[in-house]
Amino acid sequence: STLWANKSTNLQRGDTASTIDVSVLDIRNTVGNVPMEWYQDYPHIGYNLDGKKIFKPIRNKDELDEFLDKMENPDYWRTVHDKTTASDIRLTDEQVDLVHRLQKGQFGDVNFNEYEPSVDFFTNEVMIHPVTNRPQDKRSFIPSLIEKEKVSKLVHAIKMGWIKPRKPKETTPQYYDLWAKEDPNAILGRHKMHVPAPKMRLPGHEESYNPPPEYLLTEEERLVWEQQDAEDRKLPFLPQKHSCLRAVPAFSRFIHERFERCLDLYLCPRQRKMRVNVNPEDLIPKLPKPKDLQPFPTTMSLVYRGHTSLVRSISASPTGQWLVSGSDDFTVRFWEVNTGRCMKTLEVGGAVKSVAWNPNPAVCLVAVCFERTVLLLNPSLGDRLVVSSTDQLITAYEPPEEDKEQAVTWALSEGLEHNMGHRLTLTHPKAVKQVVWHGKGDYLSSVMPDNSSNLQVLIHQVSKRRTQNPFRKNKGLVQCVSFHPLRPYFFVATQRYVRVYNLIKQELTKKLMTNCKWISSMAIHPGGDNLICGSYDCRLAWFDLDLSTKPYKMLRHHKKALRGVAYHRNYPLFASGADDGSVIVCHGMVYNDLLQNPLIVPVKVLKGHQITHDLGVLDVTFHPTQPWVFSSGADTTIRLFT
């Protein structure tokens, strides 16, 4: 329908414009006021009044035609292209004139006079005769009766005192003694709970108009202040110095600050905060002085040098005369403790993971583990009698009648190896990480950490050359094991727990929760009732086995992972070595009285090991008789602190 309407309007326009239309043929287009691009693809451009198609001219003008036309046609300037009929129209002189006039802003009609004198619609002259000649009413001269009645009523009411003039309103507030009858007992309960608003902070020197020079900000400080957010600023304003009071300007944020205070007063939650007012000295626990807890190692006295790679493990002989160390440079070295001399160096076929000297003083045997082998060595140091009796002990073995299949193969060393000191070789199915002797010196345990099988811990009996696997089930990755010094208990440390087994009854007695992420080492007090655990998350847990399965104390003394812990056999001392290169010696007194808890006092921080490849101290062990501690480190040295 819109199209129809368009068409009709176009028709009308066409009628009115017919005087302008000068084309000889009446080829007015009836498509209406539509974009002519719509007919781009058709041969025609619309319909004439008869409904016949109006066809486009056969040849369109191109640029060249246009140009030629421009050059040759003298009427080019007055030719207009009509899109609707696709024809050129030459404007007549009148039309050109009209265009010129419109361009100048003049009226289109030539004959229109824009400066005609104006004629008033009504005359402005006063006539002598009025429009109506009606005389004025009488009632406009005499007073109104109704009004009189009303007024007399009001007058009567005023006379009778019914109507009073309005009292002027009291605008100024009246003050009186509000607290005249002050009753302290009448205080509301709510008021007791009320938290009064804290007072505004009192100004400091920096707010003065003339502060001491040190309170003024330097150029950099000022820049920093300007760049900071308003909340982060330490001072809410810039300190300024004025030479005299007259020069002090108004503070631009005064109203702001007052307003913020108002907001604080009614929008901020209030809370009573207890401020801790303690003397920091009182917080430090009162411990016995280290001086009174002597003896303990205080200074480094000897450095045992010789290894070329990190020293994994050390062990002292039961007499305290010798020290054995195993290193990643595939050697085991024997040292004389007092002189620091290397007595012997034995090459083994792998990086030594652990060494352990037989605790029995009547036997001279050292267990060394590397790769899948546990080697029992006779270093031939010390008393000859002991050395020879040890050899005899090993050779005195008689194989049993029926040969049982064992988890490891026992092999007696002969020839060259025998001369080097090798006595027995135990070949394990998997890589061995740790060897531990039982206190009596006959049993030996080895650890093969493996998450997937139950064959992780083996107990060997040297005299009978027998091997047992005590566990049927895998309870997690075993980190280290240890024998109870007096009773038939066996301690197995997995990643997070230490399990205590009774070897005779063959059952689990206790499971200790260490609260550590990953246990690295473990040591048992010579009394057998206490245990310490070092862990890779910098903690040392002390367990009192009689007390609880949870640690009696957690010590976080080291900054980095603990690698080794050790108890002293006679003195109430224990030590821990960690990756931060320090050995911390603590006094750990255990009382016979069951009611008294152990006393733990750190007595000395021993430093000396250099940190190499993020590793510091790898193993610590105490001298069996003296209050001395050995430590082996990743810097290839072993150090003795006395």
Binding site: Y176, L188, M200, H205, C262, R556
Partner: protein, 585 residues
């Protein structure tokens, strides 16, 4: 498991709190009215301990009020007044719309209003409670009294604030309770001790305000409404305690003195009276005319022994000092030049018993002229003045402030015309040990103890002497300061938990056996002991300890920074001085 199932959020903390919007709905008030009510009644939001529980599991940020508080608001009679006012506005708008002017007038005349007296009484059950909370009221009223009457708030409010502040200042003058003053970049701080309460307020400088657009003046006006009521009652009570007439009247003697001249300059009588009062130059009328106000209120002597006696003596001493301070400027005659802030100076000087006057063109109430020969001090704040009288000191205004804070008349030489002023220190700072004390304060403290101002004089001498001596002195000073710095650093480093290193092959100092080594050794041992003990601290205590030590370290660091800055400044200024001298020669 039996019994009724417990529903969540129907007991415990969830029921003790109410959100702001719910509270508003419960009170049937618009937010603006709710705010007004909270301001007037002193209700503030509460932060619940477990926000999630109170917020019924949601963690959206919400404002919580105690339900008890809101219930308490329900019974407030003012709430009804708010609603009445709302109705009034509606009626008025309607009347306007219908162009019923008589109705408009009638409505206007019966505009509902309310009084805050009962709220004040309820919020401050005792007078001391009210007095304790007056700091903000004072600051606010002083601010509002400086506003121009341009429609930021009602003119009545401004005049009322002005009246109340003038009354307050008159009270402080009469009771002589001003203690400390401080010129800051924000304005002038005053501290008065009224009935044992320390009251501090801030007065802006007398300039036209540049009204900020991001400030809600409605909130401020509501506060002011409350404060003016409170303040008026307090003023009334305070005047009563001093036997003064309220509203204040000038002493009849003073009034007649003032009346003689220039009465016709002031158009309105009521205004001129307030002006006269605000001039602070005359004393106030009393209910019972006392002969002379100076009755010594002696402390009663009670027989006491031991500690009590000591306390008593201390108190007595304090009181004596206080009295001495109150008479600080007694007998002095001041004249204020045009360029100094008249009101604050007149207020301070009058508080300490001085006589003050000013130019007649400046303000009403000046009692004598510049030409008066008995004037002892003229306060001037310009570099030079043409005509100077011989028998008076021309001093800068800071002298008055510093003298009040020092509780003694400071030597006037430092404050003469055109002299570079010494720094103006805040009297509110009380340094604890470890804090930085500016050297000016040390000097002042020495002066207060009665020591002579030796160093200054020496320095002056040195300036006249050779350069060498001057140098020596500089070095000495430098040394002492360096020592101080070192000491501070030492103190700081003691707190650190730095482990002593055991280095290989170190010969132990006891083998050398000297005394100094022994002392050091002992010190080291002590430090190590402490370190080891710190290792054994419990986690919680360790945290607290570390926090305390961190704070201590920070304060020392800041103090050191200030000291170093001061030293650098002094070095540069001295070098400049020297250069100048060299140039002269």
């Amino acid at each position: 498991m039996g019994g009724l199932q417990k529903k969540k959020y129907e007991r415990g903390s969830a029921t003790n709190y109410i959100t702001r919007n719910k509270a508003r709905k419960k009170l049937q008030l618009s937010l603006a009215d709710f705010r007004r009510l909270c301001i007037l009644k002193g209700i503030y939001p509460h932060e619940p301990k477990h926000k999630k529980k109170v917020n019924k599991g949601s963690t959206a940020p919400r404002t919580f009020y105690l339900l008890k508080d809101i219930r308490f608001l329900l019974h407030e009679p003012i709430v009804r007044k708010f609603r009445e006012y709302k109705v009034f506005v509606r009626k008025l708008r309607k009347a306007y719309g219908k162009a019923e002017w008589t109705a408009v007038e009638r409505l206007r005349d019966n505009k509902p209003g309310y009084k805050l007296d009962h709220i004040i009484k309820e919020r401050y059950p005792t007078f001391i409670d009210a007095l304790r909370d007056i700091d903000d009221a004072l600051s606010m009223c002083f601010l509002f009294s400086t506003f121009a009457r341009t429609g930021k708030c009602h003119v009545q409010t401004i005049t009322l604030c002005r009246r109340l502040t003038v009354e307050w200042m008159n009270y402080v003058v009469t009771s002589r309770s001003l203690r400390k003053v401080f010129i800051s970049i924000k304005g002038i701080y005053y501290q008065a001790e009224v009935l044992g309460q320390l009251i501090t307020w801030l007065v802006p400088y007398q300039f036209a305000h540049d009204h900020p657009t991001d400030v809600d003046y409605r909130v401020m006006a509501t506060f002011t409404e409350m404060y003016t009521t409170l303040f008026g009652f307090i003023n009334f009570r305070l005047y009563q305690t001093l036997n003064l007439v309220y509203p204040p009247k000038l002493d009849s003697k003073a009034e007649s003195e003032l009346k003689a001249e220039h009465e016709e300059d002031y158009a309105m009588d009521s205004e001129s009276y307030l002006e006269k009062l605000s001039a602070l130059s005359a004393s106030l009328a009393r209910v019972v005319a006392t002969a002379e106000e100076e009755e010594e209120n002696q402390l009663d002597q009670f027989p006491a022994d031991g500690e009590d006696l000591e306390n008593m003596e201390a108190r007595e001493k304090e009181q004596k000092e206080q009295e001495a301070q109150n008479r600080l400027f007694e007998g002095l005659k001041f004249f204020l030049n045009r360029e100094v802030p008249r009101e604050s100076l007149a207020f301070i000087l009058r508080c300490f018993g001085a006589e003050v006057s000013w130019d007649k063109s400046l303000c009403i109430g000046g009692t004598y002229n510049v030409t008066d020969e008995t004037i002892t001090h003229q306060i001037v704040d310009r570099p030079d003045i043409d005509k100077q009288y011989i028998n008076r000191y021309y001093i800068q205004p800071q002298w008055v402030f510093d003298s009040v804070n020092a509780k003694m008349r400071l030597p006037v030489e430092d404050y003469f015309l055109g002299v570079t002023l010494p720094p103006h220190l805040s009297p509110f700072v009380e340094e604890k040990d470890g804090d930085y004390v500016p050297p000016e304060k040390l000097k002042l403290m020495a002066l207060q103890r009665g020591e002579k101002h030796v160093q200054e004089e020496e320095e002056d001498d040195d300036d006249d002497d050779d350069d060498e001596e001057y140098n020596d002195e500089v070095d000495d000073e430098d040394l002492t300061e360096e020592k101080n710095l070192k000491k501070m650093e030492d103190q700081r480093s003691q707190g650190k938990t730095l482990a002593v290193k055991v280095t290989p092959g170190k010969v132990k100092p006891w083998e050398t056996g000297s005394v100094g080594n022994k002392v050091r050794l002992e010190k080291e041992e002590k430090a190590e002991e402490k370190r080891l003990a710190i290792m054994m601290m419990k986690k919680k205590e360790k945290y607290l300890y570390d926090k305390i030590m961190f704070g201590k370290k920070r304060t020392t660091r800041e103090a050191n920074k200030l000291a170093a800055k001061r030293k650098a400044h002094e070095d540069t200024s001295k070098a400049e001085k020297k250069q100048k001298k060299a140039k002269k020669q």
